[in-house]
Amino acid sequence: MYELKRCAAPGCDITALHGSEYCSKHHPDPDGLSASILQEFTGTDVIKNLNASGLRFQGADVSGKRFYSCSFSRAILQNMNFSACTFRMCFFDFSFIDSSDFSGIDAQYCCFAGARFLNVSFEHSELVHNSFNGARTNDCTFNYSNLYNSRFIMSEFEHTDFIDCNLKRTFIIPNKESEVSWRLSNTQEAIRELDRIDQ
């Protein structure tokens, strides 16, 4: 788990960023910190306990890296290549993800709740036990992915495809569906009504 040390700014209760005394709001140079974090990524394949919440990352290729207990909550990720990455217990809640590649990832026990996805690919991924509750997707694809035990409660899908996905125990209770394809997916095994919940 990333360090839960508080931001040094008086009265701020937000956790401090990786390698810093401050949160993204109070950090004097958040873009400089993002650059130095990306620089750190180049030397290693395993990234553990990283708190990058609220930072902006653009145009980097971090494909194939393994992320454990990292936070990208409220982060802005644009033109990023996360393909073939592994994520365990990582948080992307309320992040803004634009034109990024998450294809072939293996994400388990992660939180993407309230995230905004524009033109993002999750194709051919293992997306097991993740929360996409309240996520809004535009021009996204989850095709050929395993979504076992993941949740899409109060999500909004627009121009989003879920072709040939495993939906066993997947909660699909969206607020909005427009131009969505579930072709070849086992929708009958998904949980679309609260009556089927047994917990």
Partner: protein, 201 residues
């Protein structure tokens, strides 16, 4: 502090290992099952399990307890005096205590079950079956449902938005996400009827 997650196929429940990396002592939250895989994981990491925190005594959350206690000499924390024939160290609502050198606060959140406890380690909240990603715990009555919602909004949703919620089932979430995207806060037809009735009282 390090938190590890283990998915138990027994009841599809989440088992958590909270480790203190200074003392190498660890606590297990909700031992749904204690498998050889979990044991090997704990031993490989070099932890000694000194405590077990149970959020409630439903089988899918405690069935691994007896096996665990045959291997480790751990104190069991619960809102019950005993779980089966296992003696527990009883915890009370709002009590703050130390487990494996880590400070924990216990909050009583009845509704799903009368003995439901939530454990807070700094900004990490183990909610058991009281609060899941997008849902609140299943209750057996409307009274239980109202009680659970009232307790959750008073004790849990009042915490800061960036607190991480690690539930007994399903994926992780955060307080900020649960405030906005939980079906449990949606009004039922019954609530709406009652609201209309209340207008005339």
């Amino acid at each position: 502090m390090t938190v590890f997650f283990h998915y138990s196929l027994h009841g599809f429940a989440n088992v958590y290992l909270v480790g203190n990396d200074t003392t190498m002592e660890a606590a297990i939250v909700d031992p749904a099952a204690f498998t050889i895989g979990l044991l090997n994981f704990i031993e490989d990491k070099g932890y000694t399990v000194k405590a077990v925190l149970t959020t409630h005594n439903h089988p899918h959350h405690i069935d691994g307890l007896r096996t665990l206690l045959r291997i480790y000499d751990a104190t069991v924390y619960s809102s019950n005096a005993t779980i089966g024939d296992v003696q527990c160290r009883m915890v009370r609502d709002t009590e703050v205590f130390t487990v494996c050198g880590l400070e924990v606060q216990a909050l009583s959140v009845p509704g799903h079950s009368a003995d439901s406890m939530v454990y807070i380690f700094d900004k990490i909240i183990f909610t058991g079956d009281t609060l899941h990603a997008g849902l609140i715990g299943k209750t057996m009555s409307q009274y239980g449902n109202k009680l659970l919602k009232e307790q959750l909004s008073r004790k849990i949703l009042s915490l800061s938005d960036d607190c991480l919620v690690l539930p007994g089932h399903g994926p992780p979430t955060s307080i900020g996400a649960e405030k906005l995207y939980n079906l449990g806060w949606r009004k039922t037809k019954e609530d709406i009827r009652n609201d209309q009735y209340d207008l005339f009282v």
